[in-house]
Amino acid sequence: MKSNMGGSPMAETKWVRTDDHRWQLVTRRKLLKAAAAGAAAVGLGSVFPLPQIVRAQMRRLTFLHWSHFVPGFDKWFEGEYTKEWGKAHDVEIVVDHVPSSQVAPRAAAEVSARKGHDLYQFITPAPNFEPELEDMGDLVEPLIQKYGIVELAKRSTYNPKTKKWFGLSLSFTPDPAHYRKDAWDEVGFVPDSWDNILKAGRQLKAKGFPIGIALSSCIDSNMATRDCLWSFGSSIQNESAEVVINNKNTVEAIKYMRAVFKETMDPEVLAWDDSSNNRGMEAGKISWTLNAISISRSLEKNNPQFTPKVQIWRAPRGPQPLGGKRLGAEHVFFSYAIWKFTPPAQKRLAKQFLLDYANNWQRAFVGSEFYEFPSFPGTVSNLKEQVLHDQVAAKLGQPNRYKELTTAVDWSTNVGFPGYANGPEGEVFDTALLPQMFALAATDRMSPEDAAKWAEQQMKPIFAKWKARGLI
């Protein structure tokens, strides 16, 4: 049987595909006519453009966030807030996540690739990335005019040497103390001072409730040891970014921490990570620790009956002869940054988002369950009222559970105090030199004097390196 397909004797006819599933046998004349008509249509179309459906490419804005400790916050931000904003501005929002401990390595990879997210959220101040970051001054300064700024936020995102705002912080997390009120009441102390922590801690440990201060390389340890150092009237650097750690107040702080370690804590604190004190407090094992309110919020969800036993207090006050300062580092510092290599149109879009987000910070404050305190205080007008009337705590019969947070701005300060959070302070933080200094003396591998001297020797080259780069 002979086929009618190509090469058939029926030379005047051809099988032509008329749509996806249909073929039609047409004559040569019919085929030529159709081809001519098609060519004419294409030609005319170029002279007289025919109506066409043109789809404009939707703008896109990408975020890199660390996974928020309040899962509901991510749902609110991605499922509600950014959807509303994206719809209003015809922008598709994409939010990617990394674990909180991997924010810096991911940032380094984006810098190396010269390609990354339009908005990058850091978990600690990011002065070490300053040369790669866009100046946010045009955004920050109008916001300061409108809402004011918390000093620690300014000192964590501004470089006075280069006059550059290398980040925009919309929020920070206070670092209060969580303590077992029932146990502290039994020994008759209030955890208001470092002195009380040592005195009460001796009795509490004997009762099976040790104090919990990490002396390891985790963030909590970095923050807690800074609190202690500052409250004893010392610091890593002075306001002029010069290393001043090797002094008699540091030695006193080290002696104090050595006593706390030996007399009130378990050796396991030398190996703690950021979740260890959360676990210790939630398990009813430790009697006092410094941490964000994640401990309290987790307890409210997981163990409401136990929650009233764990209360919140301010960061402890230092010894009166050394000034009696009450200072606590921020637990988490949220700052948004824009890479210099981000295309200009994306930079403008990112800044527009940040401006609108700042103006709506009230919603974010509630969404974060008071975890994120405003860096621009005017963005949350009734902060004190909201904190004093927390609904979850009220349901548990603890209406004033978070009242100590209402004074958090007074005793919270920045990494780098009394100076700015600059590059070398960031490097000293990342390499955990301060916890190491305390741990070396606590474990008797060095005397307190030698530990302070060791810290100075480690820190001076770091500061010199950053000074040579012209960034401090």
């Binding site: 400790f69 994409v94 674990p99 390595p105 380094a108 990879a109 390609k115 997210h117």
Partner: protein, 281 residues
Amino acid sequence: MSLELRRTLGRGALYLSAVCFTFFAAFPFVWMGITTFKRILDLYNIHNNPFLFNLPPTLENLQLLFQGTMFTRWVANTAFVGALVVIITMLIAVPAGYSLARLARGWGQQLGIAIFLTYLVPPSLLFIPLSRVVSGVGLQDSFWSLVLVYPSFTIPFCTWLLMGFFKSIPGELEEAAMVDGCNRLGALRRIVLPISAAGLLTVVIFAFTLSIQEFVYALTFISPSAQKTVSVGVPTDLIRGDVYYWGSLMAGALIASIPVAALYSLFLDRFVSGLTAGAFK
């Protein structure tokens, strides 16, 4: 001491060792299994026996893993990336290992060691320059970047492993094949590879395991959730700041490790013979 007593003691020591090793190997799985079904209150109570369910077991942790995260997608991505990396590794490591073992007589050993040394360069040093490469070829934020990069550490290791294995096969077998009319490639295909099944299987398992457990590259090259592998997706969604979802984390680790453990168990004899083949002359 009588022979009977010595025999009994020897057998007792053998069984004791077997029990210790079994406990050592099985403990992580048992722990993960228990934690998967434990309530957080039960897990955190230090007065509870950690190996018992002091409160009724719960499916909440599995529910969070499967309904609150993209776990199944991550498992699929991991399996896909692992399979492709194994194929690429085999295609390159087999001829490379064979060439170094048979053809590069004088300098094969040194070159093999040099190739192996590249495996020892840690990803924490390489991820920054490699991120530029990945971006340059337009694979950032895609799991295809892992298909590109993972062979950079699987091929050197597997080449070195196969080199030792091929060396243990007598060259006379190939010579006989070539006398009978095979060329070099034919001898490799018809004689060497069938004999090397244990070694090839070892390489497959190693390459697959190295791929699915990798963390640094997967973290730094990929950020969209839908593109992530298990090793990055699970900690990203289940470690939130200082709050760890232990039950779901353990469930994720358990489910992801079962296929690999099964693979090892099924081919254990071949795997051991593959590993030790190059160790004896």
